[in-house]
């Protein structure tokens, strides 16, 4: 997957541009609901963690292909909480991250009004925040690679400006970070950065 990612970057760098191609800068807000996927923990009644996302991206359209590179920072809206003490000693999560997503895929122009797109890629994520168990608090500081998909719609409002709305699904694996089992000394809970993110933003066409 990392090799495919490197190939995407190389292809983007060497891809020729023509008059019909677009390069755009974009800024968006987003939402990541149920950060950490606490609701998937067996038997757990949870108050899901909610983050908002602020991000920017550069998107290049080359004929029917697109390539986009972005930066995103999440901000905590509400902590995740295990309400029924059902998953070991885990109590609260506050998972935040800085992400550098890169996607490539296909554009489908909707006449001259906009584009629909579907792509695949991934993101380097620098995870921060903390996990709290009944007896400890662990600050997070980890770098992980995640893979995923993106699909969305871009609408051109004026010659230079447009809006976009998209859904990004990321899947990631992390190692254990905190002990939530009082009978052992091991670390056995891994924060999960997987999940769906919604983005809504403004697009500025440089070319």
């Amino acid at each position: 997957m990392k090799i495919a990612f490197a190939l995407l970057i190389t292809a983007a760098a060497y891809a020729p541009c023509s008059a019909a191609d677009n390069i755009g800068l974009a800024a968006h807000m987003g939402l990541h609901y149920d950060v950490g996927n606490l609701s998937a923990l067996p038997g757990a009644q949870v108050s899901p963690q909610i983050n908002i996302i602020l991000g920017a991206r550069v998107k290049t359209d080359i004929r029917f292909f697109f390539m986009q590179l972005g930066i995103e920072q999440t901000f905590l809206v509400s902590e995740g909480e295990i309400l029924n003490d059902s998953y070991g000693e885990l109590k609260k999560t506050s998972i935040q991250y800085l992400a550098f997503p890169l996607y490539g895929g296909l554009n489908f122009p909707v006449r001259d009004k906009g584009k629909f797109y579907i792509g695949a890629g991934g993101a380097w994520i620098i995870g921060t925040g903390y996990l709290k168990s009944a007896s400890a608090r662990k600050n997070l500081r980890e770098i992980i690679f995640s893979h995923g998909f993106i699909t969305g719609m871009q609408i051109r409002l004026t010659k230079n400006f447009g809006l976009y709305l998209d859904l990004e699904m990321l899947f990631s694996d992390t190692g254990p970070a905190i002990d939530i089992d009082p009978a052992h000394d091991w670390k056995n809970f891994s924060p999960d950065y997987s999940g769906s993110r919604f983005h809504c933003g403004v697009f500025y066409y440089v070319k």
């Binding site: 997957m1 998937a40 923990l41 067996p42 038997g43 029917f64 998953y87 895929g105 296909l106 554009n107 489908f108 122009p109 909707v110 006449r111 629909f116 797109y117 579907i118 792509g119 695949a120 893979h147 995923g148 998909f149 699909t151 699904m169 899947f171 694996d173 190692g175 254990p176 089992d181 052992h184 000394d185 091991w186 670390k187 056995n188 809970f189 891994s190 999960d192 997987s194």
Partner: protein, 242 residues
């Protein structure tokens, strides 16, 4: 004969009729793609009762100072398949696919068992599925077609796991089938009148009943997202208006 059967027969007879043939296009294609988090958490009885893990591969990783462990990643699958499409009455779509999905990354590593001994865990999964769907397909000019369809798939899977440490020794293979439902969003970009490059994003939902293999019990979860890229060749093309 019930009304439903009569209606289905009428539609089947109408599809190849001259009236519908005016706006009918038929294509055959091939695709390759990715299927992240294949098999869900791959939970089984041995993991719950002998390893003390309640959520399978999502909770299998444990680490401790002084013991060398290797992270067990969730299964990332790659897949390939064929795609048969009929676009009828201009805006409607019938789709039939065959796919073979197999994990190529993740599923292997070293963790700790309940006695804090090193435990080698291995997971693998392959799936053959045949989804059938109906939906809408909207053309935008002559070069783009965007489709959304839903349906059901016949899915057959084989899930194997193995857990080995100085105190635990278990391996099992589960093979079963079921009918997950699915929804699929796809786009086609036509290079020529009869050839399109395609990409799709699909979501499957469904799992089998719990089955037994040796002393272990598990189900196969076919749920998850899939993305693919490929091409379509339209061997029956929509007739243009004179």
């Amino acid at each position: 004969m019930s009304n439903r059967v009569i209606r289905a027969l009428l539609i089947a007879l109408l599809l190849p009729s001259p009236l519908f043939a005016i706006n009918t296009a038929v294509s055959l294609g091939a695709h390759i793609g990715l299927a992240p988090d294949m098999g869900g958490n791959l939970q089984s009885r041995v993991q719950r009762t002998e390893l003390g893990v309640d959520n399978g591969i999502d909770g299998i990783n444990r680490s401790m100072d002084g013991v060398k462990t290797e992270k067990i990643n969730k299964l990332l699958g790659a897949y390939g398949g064929m795609d048969f499409k009929v676009v009828f009455a201009k805006y409607f779509l019938f789709r039939l696919q065959t796919n073979f999905v197999m994990n190529f990354f993740g599923g292997t590593g070293v963790t700790l068992d309940q006695s804090e001994n090193r435990l080698t865990a291995k997971y693998s999964l392959w799936i053959v599925d045949i989804p059938v769907g109906l939906g809408v397909s909207v053309p935008f000019g002559d070069i783009v077609r965007i489709s959304l369809c839903g349906g059901v798939a016949f899915a057959y899977g084989s899930y194997s796991n193995s857990f080995k440490s100085s105190t635990v020794n278990s391996s099992a293979t589960f093979e079963t089938w079921t009918f997950p439902w699915l929804i699929m969003l796809s786009g086609e970009y036509f290079f020529r009148e009869d050839i399109a490059i395609t990409t799709s994003l699909a979501y499957y939902q469904g799992s089998s009943d719990v089955i037994k293999s040796r002393s272990d019990y598990a189900k196969i979860d076919f749920s998850g997202f899939r993305w693919n890229i490929g091409f379509s060749y339209y061997f029956i093309k929509k007739k243009k208006k004179e």
